[in-house]
């Protein structure tokens, strides 16, 4: 393999199409005779359904059908548990209560579908929603995460004894003994509220049953086209090959689009078969706020035990995790939180209790970060408070507790989201930290600049926070690589793409294996007709699992190329090289053959394919990692607070990232930028505000604030450390979520540092100027 492209900052293959409006998004799909769906959603968070009368809606001109749960018959059933609970943890339990396609007896969150209208246009369908008469008996809502566990709290699921959906205690070492020996014990309560994923493109679906070909085609903004196809085929009683799921270009996903089987995803395929007409549903932004899954939402009672020289002896964390009304995604999010509390530190003892709680709010499933930011927030806050108590520099305290480069593989000795012991494969944490401190000029800032600024009355603070991210989990991905007669290369893989640059990053790997121009590698993702083995794009795994599968398949093609070229050119394989779309005998340039010509020879019009061989220059291969590769990084920032208005301005932002081998720094840095912007949102802008009745109070982009480009720091300065993962041939680790993970803890530290004379301790996220005003001016100090 040459390294012409791997690691290069090349522009993206997909951009010309994207920028000239030639990329297919689901809403671009127009089919003659297509109908449009609109959903009647509950306005109540918790209510018993007494009756639903759809007769007036059915009679409205332009309405083709109106369905409620009753119409679905046996097809109505709760969705599958996507991620089962881990086994073998003593004292743990988990109650699966998965989402339903339409509410039948009662509604459990605002936005839960109760009926669907299918009409000739979306306008008409929405008109008909107003014709449906629903008789609801409102019930007391379970809105508050803590009160949900009160003995007299109403129950989200009537068949349960309480709203406690799961309990997972995990222990490493003996925390109580560590606490006995400690010089300092820090105890704090930490509250992290909910946010939205808020992808630019909402969820969109077109389902088209063609009765004549007996084939179902579904265009869906899903992150997991293959599992979706397999599941839907099963539900609909079709063979898997009769169902084709296409996840074309998607305007961002950030987690909620991995959620299956969304009510709309179940209903539209069912209805298109009943009506024998294609149906489109576009989630509008108002729906997105109440009908697409969300995340964060935890309360931690955390403590740490330290020696007086700042060594952590142990950490204890008992936390509540808000699952919303259902728990289809199992414990992925809270297990990630539980795992990441130990972060990049050597923590000899740890005791954690995870309590997953049902509430009458939208379902929680992973959103970029997926529980990790909460865990990192807990440990980093505990360290910051310890640094103050012990009068040890924040960076120094982290240095003292970092896992050292020779500690790997390091076993944190608790069960992780992959249900194995959480082992960190590799890393160089001290180097990452040192580099970030260097880039932000930490010493100079705290010794020279900050004292001068404070003397001027300004409130400028610095923060530095380290983190890890578990990435690239299994089970596996696959790919097929084909050299075509044109000499160009086709790649098909099962993962979907939502802006990650797959058409370029994957092409770079193949181009290097086969010695072709990266622009001549055509990648197809997320279409089950092209490749139907795999799981999806989630958990920062594309560049680890899919990329290594593609690498393996490209290698397989390379083997075939060399074998055939050796025969054709009459030279031993080891003397051949692949470059410029040719195979040539090294040092004898005119003794060569183009890959296209070779592909034709491999697929002859006459002559037999020899036994044991296959036609063409094509290979399919798979990759499944033994366990996930763990990335790490350090972020640092300088910000200023205007203490009159409590408005915060980020002055500098530094990221040092170690995600192993870098495929394309341009794409990687884009991922970091996006992640940091979500992190800044989670820290200072984005908060889903629910009232006591479980009503979302800010369900629009007017009131749910997403940082815009103008709210971002002027520049994000990025440095890279490269510690390749030993767990995969490319040495990659995921980077999709990393940018978002440390930001809340970093922001908290920097704000505290800026407001040094306000006796402020930040134990919650997100903040806002209003909240900072309350914390600083209204606590009676």
């Amino acid at each position: 393999m040459t390294k012409k492209y791997l690691g290069q900052r090349i522009t993206r293959n997909e951009d010309p199409r994207m920028l000239t409006g030639q990329a297919l998004f689901v809403d671009d799909v127009e089919i003659p005779g297509m109908l449009h769906a609109a959903f009647l959603r509950s306005d109540y968070a918790h209510a018993r359904i007494l009756s639903i009368d759809v007769s007036a809606a059915c009679n409205r001109p332009g309405v083709v059908a109106v369905y409620t749960a009753e119409d679905m018959g046996d097809f109505w059933k709760p969705g599958p548990l996507l991620v089962p609970a881990p086994r073998g943890i003593e004292g743990a339990f988990f109650h699966a209560r998965t989402q339903i396609p339409m509410a039948r007896d009662k509604v459990r969150h605002v936005g839960e579908p109760m009926a669907v209208v299918i009409g000739e246009s979306r306008y008409l369908a929405e008109d008909a929603l107003a014709d449906i008469v629903v008789d609801l008996e409102p019930l007391e809502a379970v809105a508050d995460l803590e009160r949900a566990l009160d003995p007299d709290a109403p129950l989200v699921h009537d068949d349960m004894e309480s709203n406690l959906g799961s309990f997972v205690p995990q222990r490493k070492g003996d925390y109580e003994a560590a606490r006995e020996q400690a010089d300092l014990v820090i105890q704090r309560r930490i509250v992290i509220d909910r946010g939205a994923a808020a992808a630019m493109e909402n969820r969109v679906l077109v389902a088209h049953w063609d009765a004549k070909s007996q084939e179902m085609t579904i265009w869906d903004t899903t992150q997991a086209p293959i599992p979706l196809r397999n599941g839907l085929a099963g539900m609909l009683g079709l063979a898997e090959h009769q169902v084709r799921v296409i996840a074309p270009f998607i305007g961002g996903a950030f987690g909620p689009k991995i959620m299956m089987f969304q009510p709309e995803e179940v209903l539209l395929p069912w209805a298109t078969m009943k009506l024998n007409r294609p149906i489109k549903w576009i989630e509008d932004r108002r729906e997105n706020f109440v009908a697409t899954t969300q995340e964060r939402g935890q309360i931690h009672d955390a403590e740490s035990a330290l020696t007086k020289d700042g060594h952590i002896l142990g950490v204890k964390d008992v936390f509540l995790h808000d699952s919303g009304a259902y728990d289809p995604y199992g414990l992925t999010v809270p297990l990630n939180s539980q795992n990441h509390v130990m972060g990049c530190y050597d923590i000899p003892s740890y005791y954690s209790e995870l309590k997953m709680v049902f509430t009458n709010k939208m379902i929680v499933t992973p959103v970029r970060g997926a529980g990790r930011p909460q865990g990192i927030f807990v440990i980093e806050r505990l360290l910051d408070i310890a640094a103050k108590e012990l009068d040890i520099d924040r960076a120094e305290l982290r240095r003292r507790n970092n896992l050292q480069p020779d500690a790997f593989p390091h076993n944190h000795k608790i069960i992780d989201q992959a249900f194995a012991e959480f082992v960190i494969d590799s890393g160089n944490y001290p180097a990452t930290l040192a580099r970030a401190l260097d880039m932000i000029e930490y010493e100079k800032f705290i010794k020279e600049e900050q004292p001068a600024l404070r003397a001027e009355g300004r409130h400028v603070g610095i923060g530095v926070v380290a983190f890890i991210e578990t990435t690239g989990v299994g089970p596996y991905e696959g790919a097929r690589v084909t050299i075509e007669a044109s000499g160009k290369v086709s790649v098909a893989t099962g993962v979907g793409t939502q802006g990650q640059g797959h058409f370029t990053a994957f092409a770079q790997i193949v181009a290097d294996q086969l010695g072709v121009d990266v622009r001549d590698v055509h990648v197809v993702t997320g279409d089950t007709a092209h490749f139907h083995w795999g799981t999806g794009t989630f958990a920062s795994r594309g560049a680890v699992v899919a990329a290594n599968a593609i690498n393996a398949a490209a290698k397989g093609v390379r083997v075939k190329v060399l074998k055939l070229a050796s025969k054709v050119l009459g030279a031993p394989e080891e003397e051949l090289e692949l470059a410029d779309g040719m195979v040539r005998v090294a040092d004898i340039p005119d003794q060569s053959i183009g890959l296209g010509e070779l592909a034709v020879l491999a697929n002859p019009m006459r002559g037999a394919v020899e036994p044991g061989s296959e036609p063409g220059l094509e290979a399919t291969d798979y990759f499944g990692p033994q366990y996930g590769a763990t990335a790490n990084g350090t972020h640092a920032m300088i910000l200023e607070v205007d203490v009159e208005t409590m408005m915060v301005e980020i002055k500098r932002y530094v990221v040092v990232e170690d995600c192993g081998t870098i495929i394309n720094p341009l794409i990687l840095e884009g991922q970091v930028h996006g992640g940091v912007s979500l992190g800044i949102g989670n820290s200072y802008y984005e908060q889903l505000v629910y009232d006591d009745n479980g009503q979302l109070l800010n369900g629009s982009f007017m009131d749910y604030l997403i940082p815009r480009s103008t709210d971002m720091p002027p520049r994000i300065e990025i440095g890279h450390e490269v510690t390749p993962s030993p767990l995969n041939p490319l040495g990659t680790k995921g980077a999709g979520e990393a940018g978002a993970i440390p930001v809340p803890s970093l922001f908290a530290q920097a704000v505290e540092d800026a407001l040094y004379d306000y006796d402020l301790e930040v134990l919650e996220m997100p903040l806002s100027p209003n909240r900072l005003f309350e914390l600083c001016y209204q606590k009676g100090s």
Binding site: Y123, R285, E644, D703, L705, R708, P769, N770, F773
Partner: protein
């Protein structure tokens, strides 16, 4: 988020538009820039059965000098036109300074002078500015025109004195007296958002550099733009020292306004912002009046 069905009329003259409004009464809504009405319809919070589109009425889009030194602005003049117009910058610098704070350029390209006044959103900038400038509104019905002073124009949240059969056709801004200063300030979570609090200030000095007149008007604090009358009285006849300004700002924030709380800002935080903004705006306005800023 699709609007309910409505009938649509696109008259090319004001007279024709008034005839439709007269015919349909409360069922009709005039459509100007549509930057508030259309989203409200898409959320189905408003479901007018008739829309009378004023956009084809070219006669209502103009910026003209008034012979008294002031300005006449046609109701359909776009915010972006006002923003870039040199005559506005010269004769109504407070308006000129305010324009970039209004939402985003794309919105200002559509949004109109008349639409923002008639919509009477308490968080909108220009209604507060209109009060600071003592604007006059020309309201036209089929029977003819009437002029209404800005102090009588706004009745409450989204409410003005305009009758369903009438149209706001023109905004008149009187000339700025000599030795006047101005300033607009607001604080929004993100640039272009509705302000948590905003303030428009107009001050005039007398020959002895004492405050002859001050107008300080807040937005986003109550159900309509709120003039800070006590603060203005405190300043009148005073030398606008830093202390006098600070005292006026504190009075404005504590006595002149009665802000509410919402998810973005509590009442006490709004008072704090009002105090800071009033101080900043008055300081800048007086400096400009003295010709030193």
């Amino acid at each position: 988020m699709k609007p309910a069905a409505f009938d649509y009329y696109a008259p090319s003259t004001t007279e024709e538009a008034l005839a439709y409004l007269d015919q349909f009464g409360y069922d009709a809504k005039p459509l100007a820039g549509g930057q508030s009405l259309i989203p409200t319809m898409n959320f189905r919070l408003a479901q007018p059965s008739v829309l009378v589109d004023l956009n084809p009425i070219v006669d209502l889009s103009y910026i003209r000098p008034h012979e008294d030194g002031g300005l006449l602005l046609g109701a359909m003049t776009r915010a972006s036109q006002v923003e870039r117009d040199p005559l506005v910058a010269e004769r109504a610098p407070l308006v000129h300074e305010t324009m970039p704070s209004i939402a985003h350029p794309q919105i200002r390209n559509r949004s109109t002078m008349g639409g923002t006044m008639a919509h009477a959103d308490p968080a909108a900038e220009l209604p507060a500015v209109a009060i600071a400038l003592n604007a006059q509104f020309r309201i036209r019905g089929q029977a003819g025109d009437r002029w209404v002073s800005v102090d009588e124009f706004f009745l409450g949240m989204f409410m003005t004195v305009i009758e369903p059969s009438e149209l706001l056709v023109e905004v008149r801004l009187p000339p700025m007296p000599p030795r006047s200063g101005w300033c607009f300030r607001e604080i929004a979570r993100r640039h272009g958002d509705y302000a948590l609090v905003g303030v428009a200030a107009m001050v005039t000095l007398d020959g002895g550099n004492q405050c002859d007149q001050a107008r300080l008007v807040f937005l986003s604090v109550e159900d309509r733009p709120v003039p800070a009358r006590r603060a203005a009285e405190m300043l009148q006849g005073q030398t606008p020292t830093a202390e006098a300004i600070q005292a006026a700002a504190e009075t404005a924030a504590t006595e002149d306004i009665d802000p509410g709380s919402d998810i973005h800002a509590s009442a006490s935080y709004r008072r704090q912002l009002a105090k800071v903004l009033a101080r900043q705006a008055l300081t800048q306005a007086f400096a400009r009046a003295r010709g030193v800023a």
